[in-house]
Structures are given as C-alpha cells and as structure tokens.
Amino acid sequence: MAVDLIRIRNLKTYFFQGKGILSKLFGQGLKIVHAVDDVSLTIKKGRTFGLVGESGCGKSTLGNTIFRLVEPLEGEILFNGRDVVKMNPEELRAFRQNAQLIFQDQFGCLNPRMTVGQIIAEPLLMRQGAQARPEDIAREVAELLSSVNLDPDAAVKFPNEFSGGQARRIGVARAIALEPEFIMADEPTSGLDISTAATILNLMQDLQDKMDITYLWVSHNLNQVKYMSDDMAVMYLGKVVEMGQTKEVFEQMAHPYTKALISAVPQVDTEQQKKTIFLKGEIPSPINPPSGCYFRTRCPQAFKRCEEEEPSLLDLGGEHYCACHLLSN
C-alpha cells in the first residue's frame, strides 16, 4: 500500500481585498476571497494526484499554498509528516528543494536573460554551493538536458530560441535537477499542440517511473487527468466536491458538478459521447459565495436543503468522497 506523502487538513487560503485606507473611508468594507476553503486531501507517494476544476476554483492557489508561495490562513500541510505551514525559513528552503513546480506558462518561468545552461545549473549550484566545479555542473546540465530529450547544445542558448514544447522540457529539466520527491505541474500542456502535449505527457510518465516522483497534476483538461492520474479531486469555488481514485470517480461519479463537468468534455470517439449536461450561468464570485452548497445556483438537482445547509464530504466507500445532499437522502 502506498505511503502518504502529503496530507492536507482543513486548509484555508483567503485573500483580503480592500484593506487600504481608501476602501475603508468609502465604505466598501473588507472583501474576502475564499480561494481555498477548508480543503482536506491526501497525496500518496509515487502516484499522480489530479486536481480538476474550472478557472477560479482555487486549484492553482491550493498548489501555491502547498509551496507556501501563498500563506494559508489556517490548516496544516503535512509533507512526510512535517507541517509545511509551521516551517521556519531554513526548513522551508530545504522542503522546497525536495518539492518542485512546473508552471503553466512555459516561457514565463524561464528567466529571459539567462542561458538555458544557467537556468538548469542554478538549483545544482545552490545545492553544492561554492565548492562546485564548473566541469561537473556542465556535465550534469548536459545529462539533465538529454534526459528530457533535448540536445545538450541547448545549454548555450536563450529561452526565446526554443519552441513551446522545448521550453516546457527545459522547465521539466530544472524541476528534476534536484531529484525532488514531489512535483506540482500546473496545466503542464496548456498552449501546446496535440502531438507536443503527448510528448510531454510521455516524458513525465517516464520520469515518474524512473525517479519515483509524486505528481500533483493541476489541470482543467479532464481527458488528461483521466489518463495521467491515479487519484483525483474535483474542486468548485475553493471546495473539494468529489474525491477518489480516478477510475472510481469517472465510472461512478456522484456529484452533479462532476457529472456536468465530465459530460461537457468534447470527445473524439462518437461512442464515448454522452449527453452533455449544460449548466446554467457561470461560476459565482468567490467573494460572496452562495449560502449552503456553493454549487446550488447552477445545480440542475438543487432542492431546499442545499440552500440552508452546507454539505460535508461523505465517504462512499473505497476512498471515494463526495459532498452532496442528494447522497445523504
């Protein structure tokens, strides 16, 4: 049985808007954005955890909170049993070397004024400090580049000389440079063409097999999450509405939102095409979420209780959880 690598308990990340004097004077008051609202989940070692949801559902914020790039309001994030939230700067640095990020914007995450060699060498230099020998570093950089199927000559070029897919691979090479246990990939194939995306997915799969990396796969592409992940969670307005093994969630989806989301994904194979469930309207603002169940304003099956009471995650057995009043009736 797989060991837990990350356990998140009751994590809340809020953003506060209108703290300034002017907003106070003009009476707009404090606005609270419930970006991540009481999320608990467990990511198992050596597996891929898919996090899906539409834009603004807080999936990226959740990822950034794990790295403490955003400070949580409360809750705990246990990484190998140690709470990331309580780490001091020194411990945090050590943790961050063991956990890496792959960003959505494949060019934006590469410093345009550094050569690819410098970019990839940076984490290596940081670990080895002053006694690092340039020849060793250069050799390691070349090895890393070839492990992501790039020509070692790439080291002397600047990021803007590469295509999107190649830039993405440079980002992956930097992420695996320190042989981390955990990598969060935020929309790793956005902006890439179909065949390039397939190359990246294969590469990341290979790296996982080779280096036993745990992935947190943040994506709005359900097809991809279905293909890549072992476990998954569906988020809506900062809350997890359904969670479980990917196979289980796709086969026995319980939450109306999951159903709508999955049915809306366009499929190439006609036999796979289901009847699309069209949701009403758009995601409400996370500043003033609806009372009760956040999804009730768009839910085709909402009833009175949804308005009054917030549903909690129900165990459906087999580590499959869902937060919906329909299930407890």
């Binding site: 790295f67 961050r96 410093n111 550094m114 410098q118 940076e122 940081m126 002397v156 600047f158 320190l178």
Partner: protein, 305 residues
C-alpha cells in the same frame, strides 16, 4: 528563427564556463553590436565615441591651450588658425569645445552613474518589499525630493555647497535619483510576479540571490535606456548651471560658460555662441539615438528579429 546568439567560437570560452557564467565584456560586446545595427544607433555611437575620445585626449587633440589668451586676435572668425574662431579674450574656441567635452562627459557620466546606482538600489529594495515599512519610507524619500522643481533644487544645492565641478555632479545626481528609483520600483513590481521569480523562490533560493540574479538583470533594460536619455539632460543642465554662473568656475572650458560668454556678442560674433550650442544639440541627439538603439538591443523580443 535563428537569432544573434553567442556561440562558443565567438567568445572563445570552454563550454563549462559558458554554461555557468558569461563575462560582462562579452555581454557588452554583443549589446553594442546589436545597438549599432539599429537605425541611428550607429550615428549616436560614433558621436559619443568622438566625445569620449575628445574628453580623454583633450590635451593631445586640441591645437592650442584652451585658456591661452590672445588679445590681438579677439573675435576672430573661423580660419585655418582657429577652426571655430576665437572669443572675446582671443581664446581658441575649437580647443575650448574639445575641453568642454571633458566637462560634459564627466558631469553626465558622474551624475548619471551616481544617481542610477543609488536610485536603482533603493527602487529594487522598495519594490521587493512592497507594502512594508521600508517601502513606504523609500517612496516618501523619493516624493520629497521630487516635490521640488528639479532645476530649483539643483540651484539651491550648488548655492549651498558652492559652485564646483564635483558639487554640480552631486546636485544633479541628487535631483535625478528618485526618477531611477521610481522606474526600478515599478519594474521590480512587475518582474517579481514573473513565474521565473516564483520558480526561484520555490527552488529555495535566498532573497538576495533572487534580487541579484533574477530581478535586477530583468529591470535593467528600461533603466539603461533612461540612463542614455538622462545623459543628454545632464549635459544640458550642466550647461544651464554654468550659464547661470553656478556650475563650473571660469576660466574652465565648459559649453555652458562659453554660451554665457558668447550671448553678449551674438550680433557681432555669432560663432562664439554657435559652436557650443551646436555641440550641446549634437550631444543630445547622439545620446537619444544611442539610447533608442539600446532599448531595442536590450529587449530579448526585439533582438530576435
């Protein structure tokens, strides 16, 4: 789309060195090469080079002593003996223009270097610590300085410290540093949100390293462009201060002093004012062209074309 890259042969470094570090001289060479490719950048560069040569080698280039008076040949028009003519004391204007380059260059480079170093440092620190006390303090400092009209402030400082070359540099630098600080701060605010800065943070890099390796290099392009533009402004201001008698002390040859001496004789000996005015105008155009070239050369996106 192949770009103007530095390949190994071009800079003659071992691959290991190239991966880890690039000598600043190589960066300079590549940048300058890109600048002269830009329309006008070449002309700006040529004129600035001439100015620099004149400034450094004034004593060898100028045909006569800039302060040697020759009362017999006062107000002489341009001739083979005196290319640009002579002034009211019979001094050779050509030599004085060349020596004036030295003052102009010293003031421009001195004031701009001083103010940009101070300004950028404060700007980056305040931008990186956005919203903290230190940020507010630095902004407050900038605003105080900026709330005085620049020329009045410069005049006041020189008046207090006494007119001298060094004090002019100090005064001009003091009026200009908030300008760099503002540019640097604004740039820092946008650059620190870039994914590569987040990536560096997520990697566990220390703040000082992040500032020096990831933020500062990426904010420098607009700062350097401002530097070029400001050089031109500083030359004009130095002339202005000298013109008012608050700059370099006479008889030192400065373009501003030459203007001051010449304007009285504009109807009888117009060359006395023509040459220094032309020198100032050319210097301004040259620095503007050059800084435009720099802007293009320093933009990685523009460089690609």
């Amino acid at each position: 789309m192949k770009t103007d890259t530095i390949n190994q042969a071009e800079v003659g470094m071992s691959p290991a060195q190239l991966v880890l570090k690039r000598k600043w001289t190589d960066t300079l060479r590549v940048t300058l090469r890109a600048v002269v490719k830009v329309k006008g950048g070449l002309w700006g560069g040529i004129f600035i080079s001439i100015m620099l040569i004149c400034a450094i080698g004034a004593q060898w280039i100028s045909p006569s002593d800039p302060n040697a008076q020759d009362i017999m040949h006062r107000f002489a028009g341009p001739s083979l003996d005196h290319f640009f003519g002579t002034d009211y004391l019979g001094r050779d204007i050509f030599s004085r223009i060349i020596y004036g380059c030295r003052i102009a260059v010293m003031v421009a480079f001195g004031a701009v270097t001083l103010s940009s170093i101070v300004g950028v440092f404060l700007g980056v620190v305040s931008g990186y610590n956005e919203g903290k006390k230190i940020d507010y303090f630095i902004i407050w400092l900038f605003d105080i300085v900026r709330s005085f009209p620049q020329i009045i402030l410069a005049l006041a400082i020189v008046a207090v410290l006494g007119p001298s070359l060094f004090n002019v540099v100090i005064a001009l630098a003091f009026t200009a540093f908030p300008f760099y600080g503002r540019v640097a701060r604004a740039q820092t605010l946008s650059v620190k949100e870039a994914d590569y800065v987040k990536a560096a943070e997520a990697m566990g890099l220390k703040p000082l390293k992040i500032i020096s390796r990831h933020i500062t290099p990426n904010i420098m392009a607009p700062v350097i462009v401002c530097l070029g533009m400001d050089m031109a402004t500083m030359i004009v201001w130095e002339s202005g201060l000298s013109f008012l008698g608050l700059g370099v002390r006479p008889p030192t040859a400065s373009w501003g002093i030459m203007l001051r001496n010449g304007y009285k004789y504009i109807q009888t000996s117009p060359w006395m004012i023509l040459w220094p005015a032309l020198a100032i105008a050319l210097a301004m155009i040259a620095f503007s062209l050059f800084s435009e070239g720099l802007r293009v050369a320093l933009d990685p996106k523009e460089r690609e074309r």
